[in-house]
């Protein structure tokens, strides 16, 4: 695997992403380009399903870099995010030393806490040199981790190094490409955001969403894809608890395509609405008049 050279301008970045099927807004391409050029983590916030995680995946493929993903959750701690000692192997080593009559404590200690007894978790893996070039580190849904973990990330994100008490400091020769995403279920501390380039990822405009649907659901007819996008865009104007994201649009278009639907009808929309709306309250509100109205808007030829 050879690593592609980094794009040299915003347009080149845009082209690179497009060539891998990610149709980004120019502003997103600009911040991505900047984060590569400046070696700064990129902090992406926005509603669920607008393509925040996807960009990390696309970047790793397009640049030929390894993708290392850290999925955050409540209770995420150092031993599952950074490293852990392989206690069982250490124990065996101690027994072996005992059996061999080895009694030098200092020596034993430095043998036990060596690289080969360390289980490396995503953050430490991301600091290691890689033949293909620095990896893409995706820290996904940081808002799910506790505040304490954020504080730990500060050292890693500003100096790209980790301090392990028994071992010393591990520093990355070349900083990884870091993408952090958040759905804003809670606010991330300013200290962390300050170290990153911040970008709010919005729902795409209708023409871009149409292009995305055509790229991601190749078999879909022009008429249906247009109706799908109009329908989804109209839904986002409604006051829903959770508006559908681009991911939902693609799911829905795929579902309709699988069902061989030619155009949107009340029947087919009613059957597949679950691909778009994920709350029962929202689905209930979509029955009847609202559905008719939105459907009429989406299917009227203009």
């Amino acid at each position: 695997m050879t690593s592609a050279t980094l794009p040299a301008s915003v347009d080149a970045m845009l082209e690179l992403l497009t060539s891998r099927g990610y149709l980004a807004e120019r502003s997103l391409a600009t911040v991505t380009y900047l984060s590569l050029r400046m070696g700064r983590p990129l902090f992406l916030e926005g509603e669920a399903g607008v393509g925040k995680t996807e960009i990390a995946k696309v970047l790793s493929v397009a640049l030929g870099r390894k993708l290392i993903r850290l999925q955050c959750y409540e209770g995420l701690d150092v031993s599952s995010a950074v490293y852990e000692w392989n206690s069982a192997a250490q124990m065996i080593a101690i027994r072996m030393a005992e059996a061999a009559g080895d009694t030098d404590r200092e020596q034993l200690s430095s043998d036990i806490f060596a690289d080969r007894y360390m289980i490396k978790r995503p953050l430490l893996q991301a600091l290691e040199p890689d033949v293909a070039g620095p990896p893409v580190l995706l820290i996904d849904e940081l808002d799910r981790a506790d505040e304490a973990f954020e504080a730990y990330l500060l050292e890693i994100l500003s100096d790209f190094q980790v301090t392990i008490p028994e071992f010393g400091t591990v520093k990355a020769p070349h900083p990884p490409i870091v993408i952090i995403t958040s759905n804003r279920t809670r606010e991330i501390h300013d200290a962390l955001k300050r170290r990153c380039l911040y970008h709010w990822v919005d729902y795409p405009a209708a023409d871009r969403e149409l292009a995305i649907v055509k790229t991601r659901v190749p078999g879909i007819s022009a008429k249906l894809s247009q109706q799908v996008v109009r329908f989804v865009q109209a839904l986002r104007d409604q006051d829903f608890y959770k508006s559908p994201g681009v991911a939902e649009t693609i799911d829905w278009a795929t579902a309709l395509s699988e069902l061989d639907a030619r155009s949107l009808t009340p029947q087919v929309v009613g059957d597949t609405l679950g691909a778009l709306l994920k709350y029962q309250d929202d689905i209930t509100r979509m029955q009847g008049d609202t559905l008719q109205k939105v459907l009429k808007e989406a299917t009227s030829e203009d």
């Binding site: 040299a8 301008s9 915003v10 120019r26 502003s27 600009t30 911040v31 380009y33 900047l34 050029r37 400046m38 700064r40 916030e45 959750y73 409540e74 209770g75 701690d77 852990e84 000692w85 206690s87 250490q90 124990m91 101690i94 027994r95 030393a97 005992e98 009694t103 404590r105 034993l108 200690s109 036990i112 506790d146 304490a148 028994e166 804003r184 279920t185 809670r186 606010e187 300013d190 955001k193 300050r194 380039l197 911040y198 970008h199 709010w200 006051d239 608890y241 309250d281």
Partner: protein
Amino acid sequence: MAINHLAPEQTEQFADNIVGFARALRAAGMPVGPGAVIDAMNALPVIDIGNRPDVFTTLEAIFVKRHEHALIFSQAFNLFFRASEEWKHMLDSVPLPEQAKKKPQAGSRRVQEAMSQPRMTETPQHQERDLRLSVSDKEILQKKDFAQMSAAEITEALRAIEKMRLPQAELLTRRQQPDPRGLRLDMRRTLRASLRTGGDIIDIHRLGRIEKPAPIVALLDISGSMSEYTRLFLHFLHGIGDARKRVSVFLFGTRLTNVTRALRQRDPDEALASCSAAVEDWAGGTRISASLHNFNKLWARRVLSQGAIVLLISDGLEREADSRLAFEMDRLHRSCRRLIWLNPLLRFGGFEAKAQGIKMMLPHVDEFRPVHNLSSIHELISTLSRPLPPHHRSLIRSAA
């Protein structure tokens, strides 16, 4: 491979512009540090500065760290880079001018009050006016002056807050810490300890789950009919916020305002003053249903996600009581761990839930309590201090 689109003299001019722009943003209330300015200087040479949208996105990514600031930024950008000599004028038109204003000296109000005669509280005309405001249908956009509260009341409220002892540990988290009675073995510490004796395991170290207090989310009604209580409750909420970390406070009348950050300031007077600056509808009408809807939609997932206790402080006198109100209350109830409704109207002995709004809301709360004087605030504290109801606790433990 740096692409430098700038001639040296242009660079200097651009640097001046960026510094000026950063200062303008700061004056408009955005936290922009010198680090960000340096970042901007480093970023601009690598993009094409002839392309205005790119420059916009670049500066936005560097200066804006909260989505809420995006609007201020875009206004400032458009004004500043249209005609940079006009930027002084711009400061008047940008919202959030708090930082630019001279800060009132901490505690000055209290000192003044302490020096002056205690004022006569609640003359009959005063009450009449409040009554008129509370039933007014019109949204009354006015800023109510906090200085109306007497020094004696503040002293009392503060004394009550000092006595508060809120529990510090009630929710088991998934994080671990050394705990001699813990259930999990801490292999790392055990091994390190055993090495001290040359490999014999003599001391087993254990890990237990960390406990932390549940977050508290307060929704405080600031409509006209509640105006006699608003200040006291704000003091109370400021006090809780001092004692524990995760307290979010929202004020609502005709609209919902998040004042959590404003309330974090140390000095209660300053904190309350910045709250009042943030809110546009002091002592106006009430739209509980719409405010709850906004809360459920925009904030619930962000502040209730970790098993929060919700304090709803309102008299429940809703003008537009319909099925939406019950629906929103139900949603709120289902998304938090415990919903406590504090209602000052309960102070009347023979209180009956006759108002339509109150009837709609009552089925959806876990507790309904009076809160109108210091003793009821004390009772509230003891409620919050009580351990969780047994079934809640066991659920949390068994889910562990």
